[in-house]
Structures are given as C-alpha cells and as structure tokens.
Assembly symmetry: C3
Homo-oligomer: 270 residues x 3
Amino acid sequence: MELELKVRMDRLRKARPLVHHITNYVTVNDCANITLAAGASPVMADDPKEAADMTAIAQALVLNLGTLNERTVSSMLASGRKAREIGIPVVFDPVGCGAVPFRTAAARTIMETVRPSVVRGNISEIGSLCGLTARTNGVDASSADEALDAAGVARAAALRWGCVAAVTGAEDIVTDGVRTLAIDNGCAAMARVTGTGCMCTSVTAAFCGADPAHLLESAAAGLIFMGLCGEIAWAQAGGRGLGSFHTALFDAAGQMDGETLERGANYHEA
Amino acid sequence: MELELKVRMDRLRKARPLVHHITNYVTVNDCANITLAAGASPVMADDPKEAADMTAIAQALVLNLGTLNERTVSSMLASGRKAREIGIPVVFDPVGCGAVPFRTAAARTIMETVRPSVVRGNISEIGSLCGLTARTNGVDASSADEALDAAGVARAAALRWGCVAAVTGAEDIVTDGVRTLAIDNGCAAMARVTGTGCMCTSVTAAFCGADPAHLLESAAAGLIFMGLCGEIAWAQAGGRGLGSFHTALFDAAGQMDGETLERGANYHEA
Amino acid sequence: MELELKVRMDRLRKARPLVHHITNYVTVNDCANITLAAGASPVMADDPKEAADMTAIAQALVLNLGTLNERTVSSMLASGRKAREIGIPVVFDPVGCGAVPFRTAAARTIMETVRPSVVRGNISEIGSLCGLTARTNGVDASSADEALDAAGVARAAALRWGCVAAVTGAEDIVTDGVRTLAIDNGCAAMARVTGTGCMCTSVTAAFCGADPAHLLESAAAGLIFMGLCGEIAWAQAGGRGLGSFHTALFDAAGQMDGETLERGANYHEA
C-alpha cells in the first residue's frame, strides 16, 4: 500500500484546508496550534446557532468529546450532518467513551447519526463503540483492554461503522476494515503530555481535508506525522523534560516537510 | 504624533490594571499570561450572574468573540454596558466576524449596544463591521480582503462607530478616524501561532486600562508591544521552531521595558 | 511532624490516582499536564449528566471556581456529594472568592454542601470563606488582605469548616486547625504565570488521592512539590523569561523524584 507521504504533505501545505473543530477546552489550544503548524487553518465554533454554518465553509470537521455537554453534542450532530451533506470528511475522537454512560451514549449517537469518515481513539474508546471492551479509565485505556488485539478491535469498528478506524497506543493501527496498517512511530513520552491524542485527530482531519478521496491514506499520514513529531521532539528536548518536549512537538510539526515525513515513516501492513 | 511609549509602559507596570476578559477557550491561557507579563492583572468571568459585577471592579474590559455562545454574548452585553456606565475602556475583538451570520450579527449588536472604545481584528473582521468586505475565512482574513486598503477600512470603521479601530496584518493600522498610524513591528511567524491576535487585544486593553484618556496612543502601544515581542521572540527562538517561538513571546513580554519598547517601535503616520 | 515526602512521592507514582477535575478553561491544560507530570491521571468532565458518574470512578476530585457558571456549579455540587458518599478526597479552589457576590455565594454553598477535604487559595479567597477579609482583587489577593496573619486565617478556615486549609502566597501555610506548617518553597515568578495556584490544587488532589488517610501531609506534599518545581524551573530557565519558566515547571514536575522532594522541602511548624 502506497501512502505517498511526500505528495500528501505538500498537498496539505498547499491546500491549507479550513478545519472546523467542536472540541474540548482542555487541549483546544494545542489542537489549534498543531493544525496551524501542519499547514491547515483551524476554526473553533460550538454554538448551535452557528456550528453548522461554520462547517459549511470548512474542508474538514473534527468532533472531539473531551469535555462534551448537552449544548455541544447538539452542535456536533448538526455540524456532522452538514458535513455529510456537503461531502467533507468528519474525524471523530470519542474521548472517554466507555468511561461513563452519558459519554458512551453520546459517542454511539454520533456514530449512528453522523457516520464519521474516520474515528480515532485508544483501544478502550474504540472498543467500546462496538461493545468489545471493559471500562475506560477516565480518558486512558484500561490495562485490561490494552491486552486486547488492537488490529482486531480496529477492524471490527471499521466494519461495524463503515469508516476508517484508528486505534492509537504503543503501536498505532489504522484500517478501513480490509486494508490495515500498523504504525510504529511515536514515543512513550506522548502519553505523559495531555492532548497528543487530540492533536493526532486534528492533524488527521487536516490531511483528510486536503485529500478527502483517500481517507485511509490520509489518516495514516496523520498518525505518522504526529508520531514522527513525537520522535523528533523527544530527540530534541526529551532530556530537558516534559514541558520542553511538549513545546518541541510544535517545533517539529512546523518544520516537518514531505521528505522528512516519507523518510521517517515506520509502518507495515498488518 | 507622540506615543510616549516609555512613559506608557512604566505607567502600565505601575498601575497594574485589572483587565476583565470575556473571551474564548482556545487562546484564553495565552491572553491571561500575556496580560500578566505585560504588567496587568487578568480575570476571566463569563456567567451572566457575575460578569457585570466583575467588570465593575476592573480597569478595562476585553470582549472577544472567539468561541461565543448565547450565554456569553449576553454576558458581553451586560459587562459592556457596565463598563460604559463606569467609564472604563472596552476593547473588542470580533473574531471570525464575517464568517457566519450568527457571529456577524453578534458583533454588530455589540458595536451598537456597547459602543466599544477600541476594536481590533484582521481586515475581513473589521471590514465586515461596516459591510465593506467579502467573507472571512474562519478566523483568518480572506485573500480577497487582503487586497483592500487597510487604512481606508480602519478609518471607515473608526468613523462609522466612533471608536479607535485597529486592523492587524503584515502591517498594522490604528486610527481614530482622523489620526492614523501604520505600524511595521511584528513577524510572519505570528500568523502561524494561534492567539497572537487575541493576545494583542488583551495587551491593548491593559495599556488602555492604564491610560483611558489616551485610547489611540494606548492602542498603538499595545500593537507595538505585541509586534515587538514577536520580533524579539523570533530572533531568540525562531530557528528552533513555532513552539519555541510561542514560548519566547512570553519571555519577551515579561522582559519588555520602556526603553526597549521606545527604541524598537517602528511606525509612521499614514 | 513527619511528612514522609519520599514515600509519599513514590506512592503517588505507583497509585496513579484518577483525578477528576471540574475546573476553569483558563488554566485547565496546565492542570492536566501537571497532574500527568506528577504521576496521576487527570480527567475533566463537567456536564451534570456525567460529572457525578466520572467522580464515581476517580480517586480524587478537584473543584475549581475559576470560570464557574450555573451549569458547572450544579455539576460541582453533584460530584462533590458523590465524592463524599464514596469517600474520596475533594480539593476545593475557591478562585476569586470574595471578588463578586455570585462567586462568594457559590464558594460558600460548596463549603456547606460538599464539605471539601482540603481548600486552597490565596489569603483573600480563604479569608472570605470565613468573612475575615476585604475584597479579592479579581483572582489576586488584595494588598490589604496580604497584611493579615496567614496562619491565623488558615486556622480559622480549617476550624470553621472542618477541613485542611492552605493559604498560598510568598509563604504557604497549611493546617488542619491544630497542626500548622509554614512552607517556604516557591519563587516570586510563580505569581507572574497564570495557573500556578490551580496547578498546586491539582497536585494536592493527586497526593490526597494516593493517600486519603493523611490529608494534611498530602496537602503539604502538594504545596512543597509545586513550590519546589517553581524553584527548580526558575534556576533552570528563569533567566530566559516567563514563557521559558512556565515550560520548565513541567520539566521539573516530570523529573521530580522522592529524594529531590525530600531534600528540597523547606518547611517548619508554625
């Protein structure tokens, strides 16, 4: 399977897609900055009175459950429907799905109503979309779930919901149910900085917005981009600590180019 | 026109005005930190039950539309009225005005009801307050609008609304409709970090809070302060990348002093 | 009084408590990152439909009034009651209490209804819980209040509300009303970065979650941890400025170990 990462990176930088986010207030600044650094343009708007209108002028939509509430879930549904209507990709991050009933139900409603193009989460979150996993530990995968076969869970979600599914963790899996890639980019420190998962979702949406006809390849590019930023940032600043590593993620994202992405990608079919 | 930047900077540090913000959740942390680094004291309170009371003990008010919703717009109106009643400056940032109808209407309502002392935005946002521009591209100026005469648009807004208007971009313009300054501080990387516009608004409010009798000069000082922070941060950290540059903005803001501001200012009448 | 800081630090890292936060959108990213860096797992969920359920799977609860609104106050009350029911510690940060009536009333309601295990704030905030102080200056202590006896105010709050009370400032005080410690860790720059108080509350909750049977010792450990991070960060990066210092706080938090905490602690009975 050919990801054409160089072409894909150049296309994103040139297309500069507008990526509408309805997302959480914990990691939203990082999501905006990683979207900018990757070469796209972020916009955040979550009121029911304008969310769908903002989606209508965007090239991709991120729905992120991080700090959902009834008002924003309603905006997510309206924006999601608008996105499907105008044919732009919807990338869904079911943060904390499986931890508490309201969140799990909201995630299921979004899956059923919006039918996202891509869904990305940890194994507990993605598994719980198919009833395959135990309880999510807040926004982290539970250790019981971490013992499961990530590729199997991702494929089940992709087939159940007719979407591209990405399960991220020590190794990342991305699949459309038929073709499956395992990605080994990334580093352990990414789990010790909040928002690296959310940022991965945002970057994935940026790549999808620049090439909506190739969602699996675009999603894979997003995962590789984020993982490689983690590796570069760790090499650059890991020795100084987590704060410096966090800052260096954006250094790496802004300086990423097609050659570096192509050369640094570490994946295989699974 | 004499800006007295050294005096102005010293006065801000000494007065330490309390700057009440009703602002977005994307860039709010950066707004609080730049306000602190500039020498003022930020406070954020957006519930209708307390917003106007918080304004009543402040020396300046920031209204920023970034992630507006019906609840916060109502607080903005109440706080704005309180600010006018007690005579403290209101600095308005119509983020995304011109992108979607709800946002444009909210901005117009705030202009009409509150009559802000200063309004700051990109050319699409400020132009759309006067019906002069095409559609805003999310929170960015559209390329069609960027071809317009910024000084003309700023002057039109200042005269139409009886306020100081600032249009920021590659060159910044600030005017009260009669006296107009063009400011050439700043650097290209500022457009690649989210929130540099919002931060500029916050710093402007800090300067206005310290000298409400000189709004044009205070607004100019805010734009110059922010632009100069960008230049210093770029020289210090630009080579490392966008994350390091972002961090260095706060380094520069905290270390800014009157002499540096005076010496680094780069503006002319326009 | 023996704090057993080394044992306490190791226990936190091993227990990795889930710390549920209902907190403000200004400093929430920093709260999540300091919680992670300290070794705990943060989760933020504030909708009334799920807040208490999230508390039910957590080991500690943070209630932070920073950008309170009617919806989140209702979630705070429900989560607080759930926390008391299941016996996990509640750490309360009455941000801005004493500045405006709505905030003061909300803080009092939380004190009365939830009966937090630990309360932490500046002297104006803690004093206003007992009617002892003048008006809070936004989210900062007023200079009038700073002249008061912090240990006396903290003890009054602890006795009045039957909790551990911490008053942080140039010197930090923590007391259960009988035993009182004065902590001299920290540095002046911490007051020039937003959120160092909120982060202190989060870290305190992490320590309390890891050892709910020793709330005074755990709270003291949280204050010492945060203050020592400030000292280390200042030594490391203070010369570069406030942005670099802010980043270095997370470097220090992630690299903190039991020996360093024990060796760096600077406190005495008061």
